[in-house]
Amino acid sequence: MSMASINETFKHPALFYRTAQEYTDQTVSFVREGLAVGEPVAVAVPGPNLELIRSGLGSDADGLLFLDMTDAGRNPGRIIPGVLRKFADAHPKGRVRIIGEPIWAGRTAAEYPACAQHEALINAAFEGRAVTILCPYDEARLDADVLTDARLTHPTVISQGREQASDAYDWEAIVARYNEVLQPALDAAVFSFDAEELSAARTFAVRQAQRLGLDGTRLLDAELAVAELTTNSVIHGGGHGTLAIWSEAGQVVVEVRDAGRLLDPLAGRRPPEQGQLGGRGLMLVHYVTDLVRVHTTGDGTAVRFYLTP
C-alpha cells in the first residue's frame, strides 16, 4: 500500500469506556496525538463529557472546537453535514480528528434507530477521506444491543485500552436493520395531497401544528420542512402523498407518505456546494427538526419528523 492510500484511509474507531477516568484518559490522549502532528481537532460529545475532556486537556483545549452533542446532534441526521463534514470540509488539507459521541444513555426508543443508522452512514460519507472519528460508547450505561450494533458500525473497537478490528463490521446491515416500519398514529390529523394541493397541505399542517403547540421559529421550521417533504412526494414519490400530524410524548410529529423509494441512504446528509441548485430540501428537514425517521421500501416511503414545542 502506498503512503498516499494510507494517508487517505478513513478511521472510525468505537471507544468502549466504563468510567469517567477511562473516558478522560482515552479521549485526552486521542486529542493530544492529533495535536502533536498538527491535525485540526473537534470534540462533539454530551455536555458533562465535554467538560471532562476540556479539563483533562487543560491549556491544550485552547483553540479547539467543542460542541455539545445533545444540542448540535439532537437530531442524529444532521451530525454528518452539520458537524462532521462541516469541520472536515473547513480543513481540506491533511487529516482531521474528531471525537463524536452521538449515542448516550437517555436517547429515546424513537431516536435510537436513527442514531445507529447515522453511525453506519458515517462510513459511507467519509470513505477514502483522511479523517479520524472516535465514537465513545458508555459500556456501563448503554444496553448490550447498542454495544453490539457499535461493533457493526465501526471497523475497529477500542476496549480496555486496546484497539482491535471488529469482526462484525457491516454498516449496511445496520442501515437495513433500522429501516423499521413506522406504524401510523391512530389519532393523527390526515390530509391527502397532489401537486394542486401542495399549498393547502402546508396550510393544513401549520394549523394543526399550531393547535398542537408549535409557535415562532419552530412553527416556521415545521412549515418549511412540510413543504420540502410534500414537494418531494409530488416530484419523486409518484405525484401524490398523505400528510399526517399528531402529538406524541410531548412532541409534534409530522409524517409524509408516498409511493416513492429513497435509494440514496446519504440523501440530505451531503452538504451541497455553495452555488449548487438542488440538494438542500432534506438537509433542511434534518437541520431544523429534533429527529427524522425514515421507512423506505419498494412499496413506498414514510418520512416523519419530530419537533419539541
Binding site: E197, L224, T231, G281, V288
Partner: protein
C-alpha cells in the same frame, strides 16, 4: 417611467393552489412578487430572477411584502442569482420569515444579499 411589466406571468388561481405574480418595479430596478414561491410557481420566479440579473446595475430590489411563503429552492434561486451578479447587491424587501431563516442556514455570510425585514 416605464409601466410595470409582466415578467413571470400570472398563474391561474384555484382553491388551495399556489400562484405567483411578478412584475417589474416602477422607478427603480428590480421586481415585485405576490403569492407563493414553491415548486408550482418556480418557473415564473426563476424567469423573473433571470430578468433581474439581465437588467442589474449596482443595486436591484426584490419586493416581497405580498409573498406568503418561499421554499428552500426559491431561496436557493435567489441566492445563486445574487452570487452570480458581476457586482453590487440585491436588496430583498419585506420577505416572509422563511427567507432569512433559509439564507441564514445555507448562506450565512452572503454579502450580495441585504434583507430589509418586515
Amino acid at each position: 417611467m416605464d409601466a410595470p411589466q409582466e415578467v413571470g406571468g400570472p398563474v391561474p388561481t384555484a382553491p388551495g393552489r399556489a400562484a405567483l405574480e411578478v412584475s417589474s418595479l416602477s422607478g427603480r430596478p428590480g421586481i415585485r412578487a405576490s403569492g407563493e414561491i414553491t415548486v408550482v410557481t418556480r418557473p415564473s420566479w426563476e424567469e423573473a430572477l433571470s430578468e433581474l440579473a439581465r437588467n442589474h446595475a449596482g443595486v436591484s430590489y426584490v419586493e416581497l411584502s405580498d409573498v406568503g411563503f418561499v421554499d428552500v429552492a426559491g431561496v436557493t434561486a435567489l441566492a445563486i442569482t445574487a452570487m452570480n451578479l458581476p457586482d453590487g447587491r440585491v436588496v430583498v424587501e419585506h420577505p416572509p420569515p422563511h427567507l432569512p431563516r433559509v439564507l441564514e442556514m445555507f448562506w450565512p455570510n452572503l454579502h450580495q444579499i441585504e434583507v430589509a425585514p418586515r
